[in-house]
């Protein structure tokens, strides 16, 4: 290596070291919180072997009890604009709900309550406007985020879970019996991904990849299968190898058509594929797309973002014919995030931003009635995860850790969503889905 090469090499190393030092530090809770978490997992005996540790546990319990008894924070019953943000990790009993906005016939599914498999740590279901923890608890997985799909009627949800021995499976939440969780299918040595419902709700389609794959190590295979809910029969529709992954766009059971994309591991999708009675049709994808099938699985929408100065465009097409996609010609210079299809309609929810420092807002876009603004974010306060529709499409939930806002689409009236006081320090519940429940 010449002197010049050596100098360049050292300079590159210095630059790399400087860049890797860049990012801001992550939050570090007091030790008492971690001690208590360990204690819950092990039982008192193992961890309380040292007197110091025991004192810490007692301190944690006292702190928690004090937190539980804290009075509710007074708050306006309607919020004109977003207050959602990363508001710290401890949910307090929250703000006064607006009964004109909240509907107790619907439940909210909360992601990521706590890590692990302890009782009460898995995603939970609570009635809108109530803080009762007993309504229901999903089957857990270590990270306890809700990964699933609510059915077109909004009455059921199919989701993924992982037992403590590491085995993944598909589970069913039924809004009529939210306290019971039914395992639909065990998936030994595989990891499930997305779920798509048949419009008649008799079956689901889902994708899997082999369990051995890790980020950066290509999966051996990715497959798309269907599961008949009555018979339990599983049918594999397609399988791809060579480090590629399927992602399901939608499944039209009636016509026997499933649309998906194929993406090299960790990369944007490169191919749109339709698997149907006439065989398999593939179309190369231009650019980076986000795609969403309609609840009846006849239509798909796609957002394509190309960066400045074009930003994002919104397209629609019949599920089985990506070639006939049409640009909906929303104004130029917009950034778009998709909320999803509004249940019971042909409308779409979008998060729309108008440039580097422009206003960001949630809009409902209708092919016939155009764009309708339902909620404006204060700059920099966009939520940490995707907003979602109430199961009947009448409201949009704007999620946040420990706080959230519900927006009635017809009136644009808002209500804070009540959260319970934390059952453990550092709970981080995040609203992630809506389901119809039987009336209380």
């Amino acid at each position: 290596m010449s002197d010049d090469e050596l100098r360049r090499d050292l300079a590159e190393e210095d630059e790399l070291r400087r860049l890797l030092h860049r990012t801001e530090p992550a939050p570090v809770p007091p030790f008492a919180a971690v001690a208590r978490r360990a204690d819950r997992r092990t039982g008192f005996g193992t961890f309380a072997a040292t007197a110091g540790a025991a004192l810490v546990v007692i301190a944690a319990i006292v702190l928690w009890r004090l937190a539980s008894q804290a009075p509710a924070v007074a708050s306006p019953s309607a919020l004109p604009e977003s207050t959602v943000g990363l508001a710290g990790q401890n949910a307090q009993p929250s703000a006064t709900p607006n009964p004109a906005v909240l509907k107790s016939g619907f439940g909210v599914i909360y992601s990521g309550v706590r890590q692990g498999w302890d009782q009460g740590s898995a995603p939970q279901i609570r009635r809108e406007g109530e803080t009762d923890r007993g309504t229901g608890e999903l089957a857990g997985s270590f990270f306890n985020n809700f990964h699933g799909m609510v059915s077109p009627s909004g009455r059921r949800a199919a989701y993924t879970g992982q037992t403590q021995d590491g085995q993944w499976g598909l589970y069913l939440l039924d809004g009529a019996r939210p306290a019971e969780q039914r395992r639909l299918l065990a998936l030994p040595n595989e990891i499930p991904g997305e779920v798509a419902w048949a419009a008649d709700e008799t079956a689901i389609a889902f994708n899997v990849q082999d369990h051995g794959a890790t980020q950066g190590v290509a999966p051996k295979y990715s497959a798309i299968r269907t599961l008949d809910l009555a018979s339990g029969m599983v049918n594999e529709l397609a399988r791809v190898t060579g480090g590629n992954l399927y992602h399901i766009v939608a499944w039209n059971k009636a016509s026997g058509t499933l649309a998906a994309t194929i993406a090299p591991n960790g990369e944007p999708a490169t191919t749109y594929v339709v698997i149907g009675p006439a065989g398999t049709k593939t179309t190369p994808l231009d650019g980076a797309w986000g795609m969403y099938g309609s609840p009846d699985a006849r239509t798909a929408i796609g957002v394509r973002c190309d960066g400045a100065p074009t930003y994002c465009s919104l397209w629609t097409w019949p599920l089985d014919d990506f070639g006939s996609r049409a640009d909906q010609h929303l104004e130029s210079g917009l950034w778009l995030g998709v909320v999803g299809w509004r249940p019971g309609s042909n409308e779409i929810g979008l998060v729309v931003g108008s440039g580097p420092k422009g206003q960001e807002q949630i809009e409902v876009w209708s092919p016939t009635a155009g764009r309708h603004i339902v909620y404006r974010f204060v700059d920099g306060k966009t939520p940490p995860s995707r907003p979602f529709f109430r199961a009947d499409g009448s409201a949009i939930f704007v999620p946040g850790y420990g706080e959230a806002v519900v927006v009635d689409i017809a009136t644009t009236a808002t209500s804070p969503l009540p959260f319970p006081a934390p059952a453990a320090l550092y709970e981080r519940p995040l609203p992630a889905g809506s389901i119809r429940l039987d009336q209380p």
Binding site: E12, I191, V217, W289, G355
Partner: protein
């Protein structure tokens, strides 16, 4: 053996949370992984015979947890919700965001090796022991990681300045 967990937590929680946050690209998740790492360490108290090797043990456990998180995220990352696409904004740290994106874009094994070696100060041999690899493998992982990181970083810079 009695372990002073509170002291170990005070010494290592910050760097461990930062490391996990960089590896998974999310500060809150990084903090969670750090906490879980300590919970596991506390549970394994009885089998700890060498407290001096604790730092490496903690980093190894956090690495495995981060791998697991990234594996799960990879299959679900169809179109991650951002609310807005990443754009230069007032008060927004573009460089830090770029580093986060690049660390997420390169293979997790390379990102872990880069962070352990360049950011957390482990020697090459220590990284090898910690990750259960030969020193030669770590050397090659660092070289490939460095190449991939710099290439991805420059791609991103060009994209943003277009």
């Amino acid at each position: 053996m009695t372990v002073d967990w509170e002291r170990l937590y005070g010494e290592h929680a910050g760097e461990l949370a930062g490391y996990a946050a960089k590896l998974v690209g999310d500060r809150e998740v990084g903090s969670d992984l750090m906490q879980e790492t300590f919970v596991r360490a506390i549970r394994a108290s009885g089998s700890i015979h060498d407290v001096s090797a604790m730092r490496a043990w903690l980093f190894r456990t956090a690495t495995n947890l981060a791998y697991s998180h990234r594996r799960r995220s990879a299959i679900l990352a169809f179109v991650p919700f951002t609310g807005r696409e990443p754009l230069p904004r007032g008060g927004f740290d573009i460089e830090a965001d770029q580093v986060r994106s690049v660390l997420r874009a390169i293979p997790a094994e390379q990102a872990a090796a880069l962070l352990l070696f360049y950011d957390n100060g482990f020697a090459r041999a220590e990284v090898a022991t910690l990750l259960g690899l030969s020193e030669e493998t770590v050397k090659s992982r660092l070289a490939r990681g460095r190449r991939n990181f710099i290439a991805a970083y420059h791609r991103l810079e060009r994209g943003l300045s277009r």
